[in-house]
Every structure is written in C-alpha cells, then in structure tokens.
C-alpha cells in the first residue's frame, strides 16, 4: 500500500500545492475572518467630577468630655477647606452610619459602610485638650482600597483651632494632589461695615475678619506685599487720594506719597522692593516706579491719556496696565527694559483691573453686554476666556499667590461681597458674610 505514496518528484510538488490550497480553504471557511479583534472605547470625561469625601465629627478623647463643640467645629474647618479647594465634595453627615470607638486601625474600619454612600475618601479625627491647648490627630483613608493615605498630629491653642485645621488641610491637599494648599493665606479688602470704606484683613475663607484702618474716610485698593508683611493702600483721610503702607511687624501705617493730584492704586514688584503707582503730578495720570518710601525711581508711561492700574509680571520684566489712549480703557503690556507697549485686549470697550498670576495668566474685568464680568487671558497669545457669566456685576478679580484661585467681588446677591473660584472659573463661592459691602480683594501669602 505504501508504494502508492512513493511519488515522483513532479507529482510531489503538485500534491504539496494542492494540499496547501486545500488546507487554506478548509481553514478559511472554518475560522471566520476576525481582523483586529480588539474593541475600542473612548471615555471623554469622568461622571463624578470631584472626590467625594466623608468627614464625620471628630472623636472627643477627653476623659471628662471637655470641649464637646470642637468635635463638629474641627471637622467643619477641614470640610470647608476641602470644599473651597474645588477638588472635593464633602458628603452630607446625615448619611453617615453610627460611629464606633476611637480612631481604629485600617483593619477595624468598615470601609464598606463608607463605600456604600459613595465616599472616595474618609477623614477621621480625634482630639484631646491639654489646658488651653488641643492636640488633634487626623487620618485619611482611601475607601476603595481600604488603606490609610495620611496620618498627622498637630498641637496648638484651642482659640486658634481654625489655624491648626488649615495646617492639616494643607497637608491633605499636598498628599492628595501634589499641590501646596492655600488654606493659611490671607485676604485684604475694603468693607463698609462701619458705614465708611475701611481696609480689612481676613483668612482666605473670609473668616476672622479684622478691621485694619479706622479713618472714617475712604480707603481703597489694598495690596499685599509679596512676602505678606505689608499692605499698600490708597486713602482720602488726609484730603486727596494718597498712598500708605501698613506694616504687620510694627502695626503702623506710614504715608509714602502725598503729591498733588492723584496718588493711587499701586502694586508691588515681585521682589517686594519697588512699587508701581499712578501719579498725576504732571497733570496726566501716569505710571511711576518708586521705592518703598515713595521716592520716584522712574516714570514708566508718558503718553497722553490716563494710564493706571499697573501690575508686574511674575518675572518683574513686564507690566500690565490700563490706558484709554485708544479711546476706551484697554489693557496694555509694557516691557520695562525696552519701553515698548503692546495692546492686549481688543474685545469690548472697557477692560480694566488686571491681575497677573504666578502661573503667567492675567485676569481682568470687562464690560461686554451691560455688566462687568471677569475674564482671563494669556499675556503672550491673547485669546480671552470668560470666567463669570452671571447677569450681575463681577469685578476686582485677583489671583491667589499660587495662581490657582481667584478672589473677586460680586453683587449677584444684591450687595457686593467677596467670592472665590478656581482659576478656570469653576466653583464660584461666596466667602464674605459680614455687614456692609466688600470689594477690592487682594490675596496675600
């Protein structure tokens, strides 16, 4: 039988060819063509746009249960901080299940109870009072992976508990986002609480507002120094508009420019050693560079028209200011070395109050369509981006020192109050609730 299979050479080749063809055809019909069998999916946005965080009341570890109010107060500061950061969404406490015992180790916490209400993160704290001081311990847990991310202990005066908690919030933000927190920064602003416009200072969240001036006149345009040790402001208390510096160290106020005409609205150079002011001693309001005593170093603008509101670039080499030389107030960029000036804003016919962030972005107030709104723009490329769209007035925008947040003044609720938002316009939240109207915020470190 096997003799059949001893084929001559030519026959062998044909056999192979047909065999291969046959095999191919068999396989072709048996296995349908798949091509690339992968399935492709695009997901272009998360459905949950902030981390849900559960912050139950802190545990009172005091033997006789002193200061029970701190349980809620301590948690509330952290909750508000995380909320104002715009990255977190604190969950409603009423959804929380019953608390058990003190700070448990990760193995003891029933993370499923927290996962069930949608928490991404869990913040658990406990405190012990020692005389006038309190020691607070805080732990942050990742609920889904059931593990601790951060554990910290802080100690401080009970009366300064907010400051203590802001420190913890800064640690939390750093651990969870890699960014430095803003929770210990300060605001300076104008408020009419007493019936007169006076300068006030508060925490970044509007709490602990303290009156700085008491001149019963008109105080305007406060500006923190880059180091946060001084505030420059304008006041009419000695007659005309003059410039003053309040010094934190001595708590004293010094007048630095009392020239005839306007002495107004300055800003600090990034190194904190020079000021840019508007003076009208030559009859035309122009921008001048001075030292911290008000002595003129250089006149920076010399055109006809009003030139005001100077603000330095983060590297100190350029300045943004407002000029109406084109017929309407617009924002210009000046190169301090070469003296060249270039117009930056072209939309609308009222663009003022620039603020230049450390992230190299400029925010300003613009009137387009009847009300004031806040825009941001790139100093090099232009391309304005609208940040507020409320039908009321939103103005006086100023960046946080890290450039990630903006404080502004808005009368969307009737009277002017201070608001915070992320630098991209998200999460606009009111933060000043004191009597009167609050305007002209300046954000210090």
């Amino acid at each position: 039988m096997f003799s059949k299979w001893r084929l001559p050479f030519r026959g062998k080749r044909i056999a192979f060819r047909t065999g291969r063809v046959g095999l191919f055809l068999i396989l072709f019909f048996v296995f349908p063509a798949q091509g690339l069998a992968k399935i492709y999916i695009d997901i272009n946005a998360p459905s949950i746009r902030k981390f849900n965080v559960a912050i139950p009341d802190f545990r009172n570890l005091n033997k006789s249960g002193e200061n029970p109010e701190l349980a809620g107060q301590l948690a509330e500061v952290i909750s508000r901080d995380l909320d104002l950061s715009g990255y977190f969404s604190p969950l409603d406490k009423r959804a929380f299940l019953e608390e058990r015992g003190k700070l448990e180790s990760p193995e003891e916490i029933r993370f499923r109870d927290w996962a069930v209400i949608g928490a991404e993160l869990l913040v658990k704290g406990a405190y012990t009072c020692l005389g006038s001081r309190v020691e607070v311990e805080v732990r942050i847990y990742d609920v889904f992976w059931s593990r601790q991310i951060l554990g910290k202990i802080v100690l401080g005066e009970i009366s300064a508990y907010r400051h203590l908690m802001h420190r913890l919030s800064n640690e939390i933000i750093l651990a969870l986002t890699g960014y430095q927190g803003i929770f210990l920064t300060k605001l300076a602003f104008v408020s009419t609480t007493t019936g007169h416009k006076e300068i006030y200072v508060s925490d970044y969240d509007g709490e602990n507002a303290r009156q700085l001036t008491d001149d019963k006149s008109i105080a305007l345009l406060p500006r923190w120094s880059p180091a946060g040790d001084r505030i420059l402001f304008t006041s009419y208390k000695d007659g005309g508009p003059m410039l003053y510096i309040w010094e934190a160290a001595t708590r004293s106020i010094k007048r630095i420019s009392a020239r005839p005409g306007l002495n107004m609205g300055g800003s600090w150079s990034p190194d904190g050693r020079r000021l840019a002011l508007t003076l009208s001693l030559n009859e035309n309001p122009d921008i001048f560079l001075t030292d911290l005593n008000g002595k003129i170093i250089k006149q920076v603008t010399r055109t006809w028209g009003i030139n005001v509101s100077p603000v330095f670039s983060p590297d100190g080499k350029e300045m943004a200011f407002v000029s109406n030389r084109s017929g309407s107030p617009q924002i210009y960029i000046l190169n301090l070395a070469s003296g060249t000036e270039e117009r930056l804003t072209f939309d609308g016919n009222y663009n003022t109050s620039p603020s230049w962030s450390s992230q190299n972005r400029i925010t300003y107030t613009s009137m387009q369509g009847g009300t004031f709104d806040i825009y941001s723009i790139d100093p090099k490329e232009g391309r304005p981006r609208r940040l507020t769209e409320h039908p009321a007035n939103d103005e006086d925008a100023c960046f946080s020192p890290d450039g990630r947040y903006i404080a502004f003044s808005s009368n969307r609720e009737g009277a002017y109050h201070l608001y915070l938002m992320n630098e991209n316009g998200q999460n606009q939240r009111r933060i000043s609730f004191i009597k009167g109207e609050q305007t002209a915020p300046s954000w210090g470190p």
Partner: protein
C-alpha cells in the same frame, strides 16, 4: 484481489491522479456552493405558518410618526412561489409606542434561509440609521439636552466610530450587538470614574490621556489590566485604575458573540470638558 488492485494502481501514475482528484472535488464543492449562493431558485423553499412580524431591537424616541413604514415595505418583496403553503393576509398592527411597533411587511414566503437572515438585518440597521438621522435633524432644532437624546447621540457616536473596529465577529448582525455592548461597557466604567476635574486647570486638561488594555472573559470578569499609555498625572492614572476595578465584572458578552475572551482598549481623557 489485493494484488489485482495493486496491479491496476501500479499501472497509472498516482500523483497526478491524486492532485486531479483534489481539484475535481474542489470544483464540485465550489459549484454546489455557488449554486446555493447565486441561484437560489433551485433550492427548496421553507414554509412559514402564521403572520410575519418584524420587530425593532432598539427603542428610539420620536415626535410622532416614527418613520415611513412604507419605506420598509418594498425592501422585502412579495414573492410568492408556487410551492408555498398557507398564505396569510398582511396586517398592520398599531400598538402603543412604548412597546415598539411591530411591522408586518407583507405576506411573503422566504425563498431561502440566507436571504431571510440578511434582509431583516439590513432593514433594522437601516431603520436605526434613518431614525438616527431624523433624530439628528430634530436635535439641531432643539438644542436642549435630555438623557435619552444624550444616549442616542452616544449611540450615534459609537456608530461613527465603528469604522475603527474590526468585524469583531461573524456576520452583519453582530455589528449592532457589539455597539450596544460597547455602550454598556462605556457607561459602566464611566459611571465609576471619579476625578477632580478642577485639578489641572485650563492648560493641563487637554493633554491628559491614559490608555488601558483589558482582557475580558465571556462572563464579563476582567482577567488582566495593563496601561498601554500613562498620562503625566499620577492621580489621573490612579483614578482610571479605580474606575476599572470598581467596574469588575463588566457586563457579559452579548449573545451570539462567540469568542471566549476579548481585548478591550479604553482611552480615558478629558476632551468633553474642553468645550466652553
């Protein structure tokens, strides 16, 4: 007898004979297949008892009249063959919109099996395309969004993107089921994805992109996850990992999808946030 057979075999060259036989056999097979494919009339018919209905698999909203039923009708002709059995008069049945409108195309007998499976598939996908284009037009008039429209738009987008996908299975029919499956998987993972979008600000969001490759079993359980591409943001990548882990097990493969495993590549980005 054996030797005789050997003898006759030894007389002729066996190699060409064997090759020739293969070719002849192949030829016959091809002829038979071609006859079935191209000359269906010569094959026997199938009798269908009872009225014939066509049912949409996808429920899509409409403003009133869903679409022209008349359009669908001519596609399936009224063919009557002499050998057909019982004839059933065509009836149009009107039912409430929620339950879907079954469409009686016509009294007909299906000539071949192949054609039967082909035509309803064509008509249902054509129906969907027509409905989608109507909805597209309607969407232009009504810019207000609602969840159903969003789902439809997503379905549309899925269909548009379908060119990127391979056949993914045999036959035209799996095209739609794959689309639905992809949509289900996308919805499931997206609903479990949590990331603080304010984190990157304006400039950073554009570049964030993470691509993950999943190996999934037929029952939906994820066997393997790997990053094909990571973004510059560690927190973004972590949020993507969590989204996938939370979504395990995924919905099982659709019926008729014969593979036991599948690879899914998912591209996570923030492009939807860049508008406005």
């Amino acid at each position: 007898m054996k030797s005789k057979w050997h003898e006759t075999m030894a007389d002729e060259p066996t190699a060409p004979r064997w090759g020739k036989m293969m070719l002849v056999s192949l030829g016959f097979h091809l002829a038979i297949f071609s006859m079935i494919l191209f000359f269906p009339g010569y094959t026997s018919t199938r009798m269908i008892a009872g009225p014939v209905y066509e049912v949409e698999l996808v429920e899509l909203p409409s403003e009133g009249k869903f679409m022209d039923r008349a359009e669908a009708q001519p596609m399936v002709g009224e063919k009557k063959l002499p050998s057909s059995g019982k004839e059933v008069p065509a009836r149009r049945i009107d039912k409430p919109a929620e339950e879907g409108k079954p469409v009686v195309i016509a009294k007909r007998t299906i000539p071949t099996e192949k054609k039967e499976t082909k035509e309803p598939e064509k008509s249902s996908s054509k129906l969907i395309d027509q409905a989608l284009s109507k909805i597209e037009r309607k969407k232009e008039e009504e810019p207000k969004k609602d969840p159903i429209k969003e789902a439809i738009a997503q379905l549309q987008a899925q269909i548009k993107r379908e060119t990127r996908n391979g056949p993914g299975g045999s036959g035209v029919e799996s095209g739609i089921t794959i689309r639905m499956y992809r949509l289900k998987v996308e919805e499931r993972i997206k609903s479990n994805w949590s990331y603080p979008t304010a984190l990157r600000g304006n400039k950073g969001n554009k570049d964030l992109e993470t691509v993950v490759l999943l190996k999934v079993k037929k029952d939906g359980s994820i066997l393997e996850t790997s990053f094909s591409k990571k973004s510059a943001d560690f927190i973004f990548d972590q949020s993507v990992m969590k989204a996938i882990e939370r979504s395990n097990p995924l919905p099982p493969f659709p019926e008729g999808y014969m593979r036991s495993h599948e690879e899914i590549e998912i591209n996570f980005n923030l492009r939807d946030l860049e508008k406005g």
